[in-house]
C-alpha cells in the first residue's frame, strides 16, 4: 500500500500491476498453506503438548489476519486501487478495533457481575 496519491504513481503502478493467473495461484497457495499451518497447530501441536493453548490462540488470530490481508489485498484487489479508496475502506476499521477494545475490557467486569 503506497501512500503517495500522485499521478506518477498512477501512471507507473496501477495499470500494469494487476492479478495475473500466476499471482492468483500464488495467493491461493499461501491461503491454503496458512490454513494447513492452523490445522497442524490445532490437531498436532496443541493436543501433544508442544504448544500451550494460550500461545496457540494468539497465533491463530495472527494467521487469520494474514489470511484476511491476502484476501482483501489480492482477491479483492484493494492493493491495486487508488490510495483514497484504500484509506476510505481501511480507516473505518478503526471503529471495529475500538469496539473490540471496549467490549473485551467490559467483559472482564461482567465476570464479577455474574458471580
Amino acid at each position: 500500500m503506497s501512500s503517495e496519491p500522485t499521478e506518477v504513481h498512477h501512471a507507473e503502478g496501477d495499470h500494469g500491476d494487476t492479478m495475473t493467473r500466476g499471482r492468483i495461484i500464488k495467493v491461493a497457495l499461501i491461503l491454503s498453506a496458512i490454513t494447513c499451518v492452523e490445522f497442524f497447530i490445532a490437531l498436532y501441536m496443541v493436543p501433544n503438548g508442544h504448544m500451550p493453548i494460550n500461545v496457540a490462540n494468539p497465533v491463530y488470530i495472527v494467521l487469520t489476519l494474514f489470511k484476511a490481508f491476502y484476501i482483501v489485498a489480492f482477491f479483492m484487489h484493494l492493493k491495486f486501487e487508488k490510495v483514497g479508496l484504500v484509506y476510505s475502506i481501511l480507516v473505518p476499521i478503526l471503529f471495529i478495533i475500538g469496539l473490540i477494545l471496549v467490549l473485551t475490557n467490559e467483559s472482564h467486569h461482567w465476570i464479577t457481575l455474574r458471580l
Binding site: 496519491p5 492479478m19 487469520t64 484476511a68 475502506i89 467490549l103 467483559s107
Partner: protein, 243 residues
C-alpha cells in the same frame, strides 16, 4: 493567459483537484465496497459480542469435542476439524475460481468467465450443503436456538478433569448454541444470496449482456461480495473452531 505553468496549475493535477473521481473506480464498484464495509461492521458486532460473552464466561464448550464428527459419514468421534477443514477449502477454492472469472473477464473471454462462474456456484452449493449437514448434526445432538442437549450428552463437551457445575455448563451451552447458529446462519445466508447473485450474473454472461456493454466489470462487483463471504468465514472458522 500565458503559456507558462504556474505553481497553482501544477497543484491541479493531484487526485483531489476536481474534475475526475479521486478514487478512479466505477460508481457501482465503490458502492459495493461501502456496502461491504457496513456488512463488515455487522459481522464484527456479532463476533465481538461472541468474544465478550465468551471472555466473561468461566467455562465454554470445547470446540474439538463439539465438532469432532464428520456429518454425512459414519465417523462420529475423533475427527475434529476434518469436516470444517473441508468446508474451508471449498470456500477458498470457490474464491479462487471467482478471481479467475474476473481475470477472464478482463480478457473479455466470455466462455472462460462462464465456466469459472459455474465452478464458483458449484463451490457455493457444496459449502451450503456441508453447512446443512453440520447444522443437522448439531441439531440431532440437541443444539438449536435456545436449546441444548441433555445433561448426559452435555458433559462430553467439557473438560472431564475439570468439569464445571451443571448450571454453568447449561448457561454457556445456551450462549454457544445461540451464537453459533446466529453467526454461521447469518454467514450462510450471505453465501446463499451470493450463490443466487452469481447464478443471475452467469445467466447475464450467457445472454451476452456484458459482451454488449463492452466490460465485465459486473463480475468484479459480485466477485467482491463473494470474496467478502470468504473473508468472513476465515474469521468464523478461527473463532468458533480453532480458538
Amino acid at each position: 493567459m500565458s503559456a507558462t505553468v504556474t505553481q497553482i496549475d501544477e497543484l491541479k493535477t493531484t487526485p483531489w483537484s476536481g474534475g475526475r473521481s479521486p478514487f478512479n473506480v466505477e460508481y457501482g464498484k465503490m458502492m459495493m465496497w461501502f456496502f461491504l464495509l457496513s456488512d463488515a461492521f455487522t459481522f464484527s458486532s456479532l463476533l465481538i459480542s461472541y468474544g465478550a460473552l465468551r471472555f466473561s464466561a468461566s467455562t465454554w464448550p470445547i470446540a474439538s469435542e463439539v465438532f469432532q464428527s464428520v456429518p454425512g459419514t459414519s465417523i462420529e468421534h475423533g475427527a475434529p476439524l476434518v469436516f470444517v477443514g473441508l468446508m474451508t477449502f471449498i470456500l477458498i477454492l470457490s474464491s479462487v475460481t471467482m478471481v479467475l472469472a474476473v481475470e477472464a473477464g478482463h480478457r473479455m473471454a466470455r466462455k472462460e468467465v462462464v465456466w469459472w462462474m459455474i465452478a464458483t456456484v458449484i463451490g457455493g452449493f457444496m459449502f451450503l450443503g456441508c453447512q446443512a449437514l453440520e447444522w443437522n448434526h448439531l441439531h440431532s445432538e440437541g443444539f438449536w436456538w435456545s436449546a441444548i442437549p441433555n445433561a448426559e450428552t452435555l458433559k462430553e463437551f467439557f473438560d472431564p478433569k475439570n468439569l464445571p457445575a451443571l448450571a454453568q455448563q447449561q448457561m454457556t451451552a445456551h450462549q454457544f448454541a445461540n451464537l453459533f447458529f446466529t453467526i454461521t446462519g447469518f454467514h450462510g445466508f450471505h453465501v446463499f444470496s451470493g450463490v443466487i447473485i452469481n447464478i443471475i450474473i452467469t445467466l447475464n454472461v450467457l445472454a451476452g449482456t456484458y459482451e454488449k456493454r463492452g466490460s465485465y466489470l459486473m463480475i468484479e462487483k459480485v466477485g467482491l461480495y463473494w470474496h467478502f463471504v470468504d473473508l468472513v468465514w476465515v474469521f468464523v472458522f478461527t473463532f468458533f473452531y480453532l480458538v
